[in-house]
Point group: C2
Chain length 219, copies 2
């Protein structure tokens, strides 16, 4: 169920780790490349959220410059930082991960137009890619591991209604080499361009399409 209008005022929080990000891509990218690729994905995410008319707070583990967002540096863990912020929020909050380069304005509005108290987008492998929390003062997060299940259960314990949003674009978090294939296939933004500039290309054989990097198959 969606609200009749998509005009919902909300604030967006994007957690970000600018130092040594995306370590599970270490097999195919150097540390410097991983940093640059993470920047590109963040740029795609922030651009899509800004298109929805939301202000963005980048919740960063280290100092970072992001022209389109306020940057808040918090050195504690992700959960501690978010659970410190949520009680201070006066409007609905969208928490969206920075490694979702397939997000679009339309798919984000699909989340924020929920009529439920909480909208959740699962990540691949049971994580949580996006939370939309109508009353953030009442809610607490717990990322890592099987957080998708946890976030739903907590909401229900609090008497909140929950919608699980079904979207390949939003569920595709880029952590592992295989995820790069989906980005190459479905991407349209800066992150896909980054991969192409760095000599990634698709290889179509039998079975699933694979990716190669500078001539070598990486998956």
């Amino acid at each position: 169920m969606r609200e009749a209008t998509n005009i919902m005022h909300f604030h967006t929080i994007v957690p970000f780790r600018p130092v040594n990000p995306k370590t599970r891509l270490s097999g195919v990218l150097t540390e410097e490349e991983r940093g640059s690729f993470a920047d590109a994905m963040l740029t795609d995410v922030v651009a899509a959220v800004r298109e929805c008319g939301s202000e963005v707070t980048l919740l960063s583990t280290d100092p970072y410059v992001c022209p389109e967002a306020d940057v808040l540096v918090r050195q504690e863990g992700l959960n501690e930082a978010l659970n410190w912020i949520l009680p201070q929020c006066e409007v609905p909050v969208l928490i969206i991960m920075s490694d979702l380069p397939l997000v679009t304005k339309e798919t984000i509005l699909q989340v924020t137009s929920t009529v439920s108290d909480l909208a959740v987008v699962p990540g691949l492998g049971g994580g949580t890619n996006i939370l939309f929390i109508r009353d953030p003062k009442r809610y607490r997060v717990q990322y890592y591991g099987y957080s998708f299940r946890w976030h739903i259960e907590v909401a229900r314990e609090l008497g909140m209604t929950v919608e699980v949003v079904d979207s390949l674009r939003l569920s595709t978090d880029v952590d592992e080499p295989a995820d790069l294939v989906e980005l190459m296939i479905h991407g349209t933004g800066r992150s896909k361009a980054w991969l192409e500039q760095h000599e990634f290309a698709l290889v179509a054989e039998s079975g699933r399409v694979k990716i190669k990097h500078r001539g070598d198959n990486v998956i």
Copy 2:
């Protein structure tokens, strides 16, 4: 864009290979188990399509009994068999793969309510999980490899409008062991029950949730 009403008369074709299916799961399932698991997934898919009010033709490589579908045995390749059927179809056709155990009535209706001439649901890794073809006499399929791209390009060459449907449930085809994790997390039907009965269980550690089989981690 969706049609105002979801009541669209269409016929469904489900390709199926009952003999030695799902070979990429050979590392975790015996041939007999793979056959039984493929049956469970087919049952989930056919049940969801039947809930939409569609008749189902099972296009099988070998004789097979399916109480909820007409069975048509064709021994040529998948593309040849489908391209032999399509010119004979008088109503819109839904071609849906049998290894999509997360499909639901609602997600299928999201496909068939398109206003475009063709709706396509990509599979993981650039395949094609579902095609909804409004005028099947005019269209030809080409599965395998990067067929998602191919199916879109052919439609555009034919002057057809195309919608790509964005759904994790519909895009999750179960071919490889990692796909079983998504089924365990999001499944509700017979296929998930099959996995549980065969001693598969989720393992939540750091990073993505994994799956174990009879005590051993398989992914």
